[in-house]
Symmetry: C2
Subunit: 311 residues, 2 copies
Amino acid sequence: MKYCFGVDIGGTTVKLGLFSEAGAIVEKWEIVTRTENEGAAILPDVAEAINGKLEQHGIEKEQVLGIGVGVPAPVTVDGIVNGSANLGWKYKNAKKELEELTGLTAEFGNDANVAALGEMWKGGGVGYRNMIMVTLGTGVGGGIIINGKILTGENGAGGEIGHMCVNLEETDTCGCGGHGCLEQYASATGISRLARKKMEHETRATILTKEDLSAKAVFDAVKEGDEVAIEVATEMGNYLGHAMADMAAVLDPAVFVIGGGVSKAGEVLLSFIEKPFMEKAFFANKNVKFKLATLGNDAGICGAAKLVLED
Amino acid sequence: MKYCFGVDIGGTTVKLGLFSEAGAIVEKWEIVTRTENEGAAILPDVAEAINGKLEQHGIEKEQVLGIGVGVPAPVTVDGIVNGSANLGWKYKNAKKELEELTGLTAEFGNDANVAALGEMWKGGGVGYRNMIMVTLGTGVGGGIIINGKILTGENGAGGEIGHMCVNLEETDTCGCGGHGCLEQYASATGISRLARKKMEHETRATILTKEDLSAKAVFDAVKEGDEVAIEVATEMGNYLGHAMADMAAVLDPAVFVIGGGVSKAGEVLLSFIEKPFMEKAFFANKNVKFKLATLGNDAGICGAAKLVLED
């Protein structure tokens, strides 16, 4: 029997999974991410957790195909991270360090890209080989899968779709320093921002309140038929759907998978995205499918495990 | 000694090249594209040309690594063409047909994608593995190379960057039926259109004349310092540069290679593109390089040959 590990390193916790060669989750658990001291303890902590788990289950290192790891930063194909704000890392040869600490093969990827791979393998993208995952969380992340493999890009920054410019007139500044980034409209914080702007001058009756203009509150109100909330969702969906039409013209995917906290709104979210997408999509791309992500927090460890499993 | 063929099928002529295994062009020639009768003669004509060339040079079929072919249509990874307006083809299993006609292995690709591969191999993209080729001709085509390979896409429509929507306010219709496509501003015909619109209400002195508002006339005037022409080039460059910033956010390329008839304007063209690109590019993409294509009409046969040569 052979095994592998999938590891999803976040700014607060590290999620780990022990997988069978066939892809079943044998066990999953978490450890704390120790970001102090430039995150020097993170990879040693991961190595200790993995070594401990092998001992606990009586698994020999020869039985382990490798360790796949997702990290919140651009990562090159060689496993080099050129700094991660969330982890405190500066330049780090993460692959080399973890391989030396464990004596096992390690493959690294960007967390959004790795989660996309997980959704293709076991989630919303099952059955497809050309997929764009759009993650609507605090920010907007993306993961592009071409012919079953992650599109890493030259600097490990492939799929940074949250920083496509969708509004040349924007005066507010994005976290990246740019103006008019998709993230400013389609992330959870972006949706709140659109709702807040609308509520400043709103005179119609609405169940939205200035105390709670979260993305969840907006989509809950949409489900109640609230006109003001529907206008906010329409504005968000227009920016996102049009940007997705541009992504499709470039990449010609078979499927979009929508994940992240905002996607908990469910199918209603897709309706606000598909209409503007279809209005602007190139004819060759109009048969693309729209799916919700299904793996939730497990997408990261699944995709990480898939990094070291053969097709 | 081993050989391969690179074939570039256009709507008027088929360009053919005989290449050595090492990649040198041994001979190149053209035949007429017979598009009548749904283009039924095109592949038989190609097969005859190849068989004749082998006989002429005394090359055995065992010495031929294969035939690479670029066609003006989307092509799947399996060599299926689902119709080509320029060739008169309906559905065609082009790979199977040419292999049966020649007894040789054939690989097919979209002509813009194949030209991009050629430019990476021997032209403006030499030394790079992640490249976006932008072809500014009658239309705007694109070819995306990821890790040295063509991004084909699910329907063979990868890299259709000319149909990214760059202006939601546009009322004129693109050839594809859409509105505000990049092609409407950055192709040779798009540049003429921008110039014509500007000249309608222009009162300043300009060396541009309503009789010749071709892209070449515009860039010739730009080189003379003509204020009106510079404004047309600036408008075109803004649309293109901003769209390229969005492509870069998605794909994280190392280099853009600009080809097609409009690129004959030379380095001055790049200056109009790079400035708006830098204004809108995500920080991780600001080190991307801008190059002019160098192969001209040979890009197609070179890229086609590269389809059947190993890395």
